[in-house]
């Protein structure tokens, strides 16, 4: 399945700022087995963009399609085909990983005999079987993130959205997160990934969209971005694009 986002806008209101666009005219495409990275500083509009695509927020304007599914017109069908993972694990503290996976699996439409097997295989694959019946509130941050990953993929989605997934994780947990993203790519999943860590984007992404002030300043492969700016390192590429945008503004 292919993700197509066109002219996506999301307007917010804050008493102090009045009305403003958190993402403004965002367009990009992500193919099957491809990792597209949204790279930008804090407050650039990465999370809002991903939340709108994942139907958590309603778009002010624009469209998004996942294969034949119009994400905004048929959100339930889109939700069945996507998994969302953010840095905040979003787990019920007083439920166990097994209870959480059963709950999300059933509500995502996974049939009962297959669900049990799927849960067991996820425990094995992500290596947290020993914590399967402990309450989530008592788990370490790394284990919580593993449970969160399992929850996001329990229904085998074809689109995976990762919103700064390695924030707050230690080196080992970050490493296993990267491994998981690579594995999802090898399984042919379509992956959208947001980060403000340059090295992470450089290491994982097939194509990168540099985002600032709610707008995509440039997008392409790393070599295309280098060519566009004349810089070598991604950090310098990013700074050059931001400076250019500020000048135009």
């Amino acid at each position: 399945m292919k993700l197509q986002v066109e002219n996506l806008c999301k307007r917010f209101y804050e008493p102090a700022r009045g009305e403003f666009y958190a993402c403004n005219d965002i367009s990009f495409e992500v193919g099957q087995g491809e990792i597209f990275g949204l790279l930008g500083p804090n407050g650039a509009g990465k999370t809002t963009t991903l939340r709108v695509i994942s139907t958590i927020l309603k778009a002010t304007s624009g469209s998004a399609h996942l294969g034949d599914i119009d994400i905004f017109k048929d959100p339930d069908a889109a939700r069945r085909a996507m998994g969302f993972l953010s840095s905040s694990t979003g787990l019920y503290e007083r439920l166990t990983p097994r209870e959480i996976l059963t709950y999300f699996g059933r509500l995502s439409g996974v049939a009962e005999p297959a669900l049990k097997e799927k849960i067991e295989s996820l425990f094995q694959a992500l290596d947290f079987k020993q914590f399967a019946d402990a309450r989530c509130g008592k788990l370490s941050q790394g284990t919580k993130q593993k449970v969160s990953i399992a929850r996001a993929i329990i229904h085998d989605p074809s689109l995976m959205i990762f919103d700064e997934p390695s924030t707050g994780l230690d080196v080992l947990a970050t490493q296993s997160m990267h491994e998981f993203i690579k594995q999802a790519k090898s399984e042919g999943k379509c992956i959208v990934f947001s980060t403000h860590i340059m090295s992470e984007a450089e290491k994982l992404c097939d194509r990168i969209g540099v985002i600032n002030d709610g707008k995509i300043l440039a997008q392409g492969t790393l070599s295309q971005l280098r060519e566009l700016t004349g810089e070598t390192y991604l950090e310098e590429v990013f700074m050059a694009l931001v400076r250019k945008y500020e000048l135009v503004k």
Partner: protein, 425 residues
Amino acid sequence: MWLVFKEVYLKDLKHSFRDKDVFIYTFVVPALLYPSLLVGSAELVMFKADSESAKSITYAVSGPTDKGLEQIDAILQKRKHFKKVETKEADKDLADGKVDAVLVRKDNFIELRVNQLLKVATLASTINDNVSAAYLQELTEAFASKGFAKENSQGFAIVSQNITASGNTQKVAGSLVGKSRLNKLENLSPTLCLLIFSLLMLGLGAAYPSIAVTAEEFERNTIETSCLLPVSRSMIMLGKVIAVSTFAAVSGLVNFVSMYAVAALVLSQAKLFPRFTGEHLAFNLHWSQAIGLVACYLLLALLISALMIFATSFCRTVRSAQQWTTFPLLIILLLPPCALFPNLELNYRTMWLPILNCTLMLKAIFSGVPFNYTFVVVTYVSLAVSFAALSLARIFLFEQVDPGAAFGRAVDGLAHKIKKKETRA
């Protein structure tokens, strides 16, 4: 669709039940604290009554006397509780507080008038209890000896005199001889009082679970994962409100059972309430009344839970929800006891006021009022208010609408329009 409801209901039930705050407020507080307070209050009342009964009650005889009045006067003089005082203006002295009571013949009725001030009214009740318990036989015999038959005899009653309302008298205690003329206050059964007081626990029992299913979901960001589920958000809301209602109903029920047990114990031991015995706590309900009471109780649990979910859906953290819900909770807690006012009944006016109307319906069903149109209106009003509250809560929870920002936006829009109008003018 029902699978969604079932899953959400069980998940919220399990998740909330494991919260120690919910556990304490749903089971421990209603089971222990309020019954303990009931015992404490009963002890206090008994202590107060003992000290009051130790004092003698001064009384004067007013107006012309006859044999019946003299007989009563003689009976009272024999008792240590009563001390006769000679006065020329007995009614004035009663109003001035110089005497506690005035014995008077009114038509063919003998009254012991007492001041209606709260302290004295309590005293009147005590007097009546004393008289009714100890002197009933003596009085009956006295009347019989004077030729008054039991069936259609002249009565003796303790009445309170409202000194501020131009001599109007209002009886606060029952007559002893002849046909019983109990007022509405006396019609309130202790069981009904306990039932209405247990409604307070519906509010307290719903408070913490409603915080757990709304504000805590925002704090832990689990609301985001719920938003990503390919299911109807209305069914998620239904699962949440039924889970909270379950906690509220269980909390109220635990409270009622424990208070009922304690009340039965207190009444069986206390000499203070000779007119109340264990029999007064007995349920003498028709099966249709019992079904009506259960339905009404559940309807109230649903309504209060929906209102609490609405109130907590404004909040984004548990702490802010705990602070913010104090005021709505207070209102919810204050409404049910209002149904205990003797003159407040379910009618075409009160049936529109949520919570109070349900409580009055409960009172009406308990008192044996037959099914009528007001019951239907109350049910519709309660369901409509619950639906409206949950619909708004659904918007605040799932549409990521920040009520503060929405309000600010509306105010800004209004200010902008006014400014535009002024500029045109």
